[in-house]
Amino acid sequence: MSSEWPLWEIFIRGQHGLNHRHVGSLHAPDAEMAIRNARDVYTRRNEGVSIWVVRSNDITASSPSEKGPLYDPSNSKVYRHPTFFDIPDEVGHM
């Protein structure tokens, strides 16, 4: 039986108050082992306080060719940035 262990994506919360962040991937037979292996592979120097593991196959990614349609429309919406508006100095900090 040649059954390669599935690939898992590993997300680690570096400190309390921060988001989990993708740090890499590893192979493991199941979720529990993925967490144990992630502890050894990605947190040997106190890099984390919490680990998420997700099977790589369960992740759906946007395709690089969609870059234009997905992100270009926001280029023209400059009014979403506070610097678009001129507020007179007399008004004070806003």
Binding site: G24, H27, P29, D30, M33, V41, R44, A61, P64
Partner: protein, 332 residues
């Protein structure tokens, strides 16, 4: 280096390139990172798989010469340190295998190619570690040479490879320092201990210089890899840097670099030194070094002896999945 003599593909002049290839090269020239699912020339992908794979194999095989001394470290503290160092190397191998896998090769394929001799690992790990001083020499010189190569690779064009290198570099300086620390201890010890340190330097000096690969004049695959930014410096540049950095460190230890022609060259601002014996290098790469058979044999044995365990855990996971599905079904 950890990836010596990686065969590069697809060296093309600009007017032979397709528009896609030109756009790709321009992204690299702008220092944009290339990410896994993006378009890339087939030669770029293949060369990277070879290079990252060879690097990963080196990290894994590189555990063997040091693992050899874990049970015989002179104190409990040295043992714990060496264990942590060797564990880091396992981690380095895993980061790199994952980076290679983003290019569409599977872990099993990579391991199969290592085990069948179709992929190489660094020549340095085919030398024996005979005494405790060798643990000092390996950390100081071998990890030192690895760092020389890996620091610039943090800026390599392929995103996953670059990120793996950044992680690895953070961990490497501990490796080099623990090695140098062993050397300092040995050199401050009895005359016999100092002689062991000198002997270790004598044996590892030239093999460490070989880690950077053949001289630039014989290095045929460099140009394309440098254009793609998967090789950042030439072999001779890095070797020179390594010698310039290491000689004063040897002097501090009171050890003699085993090269009668080593001397400072004021004009070039670096040392002149003797080339290693390249016929030895090519023999080791071809499989005829002192420990090639032993190293590869140990890897193959570990893989084969572990098969029942890997399969057992997969069978357990499949059963647990099945049970969970049945329970959900019953609840509906």
């Amino acid at each position: 280096m950890y990836a010596q003599m990686v065969k590069s593909e697809g060296s093309k002049s600009r007017d032979e390139m397709t528009p896609e290839e030109i756009a790709f090269q321009e992204r690299i020239d702008r220092n944009e990172k290339i990410e896994p699912k993006e378009w890339m020339p087939e030669g770029y992908r293949k060369t990277l798989i070879r290079q990252i794979g060879q690097h990963a194999h080196s990290e894994i095989v590189g555990q063997l010469p040091e693992g050899n001394w874990i049970t015989r470290a002179p104190t409990l503290e040295r043992k714990a340190i060496l264990l942590a160092k060797v564990q880091d190397e396992a981690g380095h191998g895993l980061y790199l295998y994952c980076a290679a896998e983003t290019l569409g090769v599977s872990r099993d394929e990579l391991l199969e190619k290592l085990h069948s001799g179709n992929m190489k690992y660094s020549s340095i790990f085919n030398y024996p570690t005979l005494t405790w001083a060798d643990m000092g020499a390996v950390g100081w010189l071998v990890d030192g040479a690895a760092i020389m190569n890996q620091v610039p690779l943090q800026r390599t064009s392929y995103g996953p490879y670059s990120r793996a290198m950044i992680r690895i570099c953070k961990e490497e300086s501990f490796h080099q320092r623990q090695g140098y620390d062993i050397m300092m201890k040995m050199c401050a010890g009895t005359p016999e201990q100092k002689a062991m340190a000198q002997d270790a330097l004598n044996r590892f000096w030239y093999p460490a210089l070989m880690m950077f690969g053949p001289s630039d004049k014989d290095s045929v695959h460099s140009a394309q890899s440098m254009a793609w930014k998967i090789k950042m410096n030439t072999n001779d540049e890095l070797r020179q840097k390594f010698v310039d950095q290491t000689v004063p460190q040897a002097e501090y230890l009171g050890l003699t670099v085993p090269d009668p022609d080593l001397k400072w060259n004021e004009e070039k601002g670096g040392y002149d030194f003797s080339e290693p014996d390249w016929s030895e290098f090519f023999a080791v790469i071809a499989g005829n070094g002192p420990c090639n058979a032993e190293r590869l044999g140990a890897r193959v044995k570990a893989w084969e002896d572990g098969a029942w365990f890997r399969d057992g855990l997969m069978a357990h996971a499949a059963k647990a999945d099945e049970r969970a599905r049945a329970a959900r079904h019953a609840a509906e």
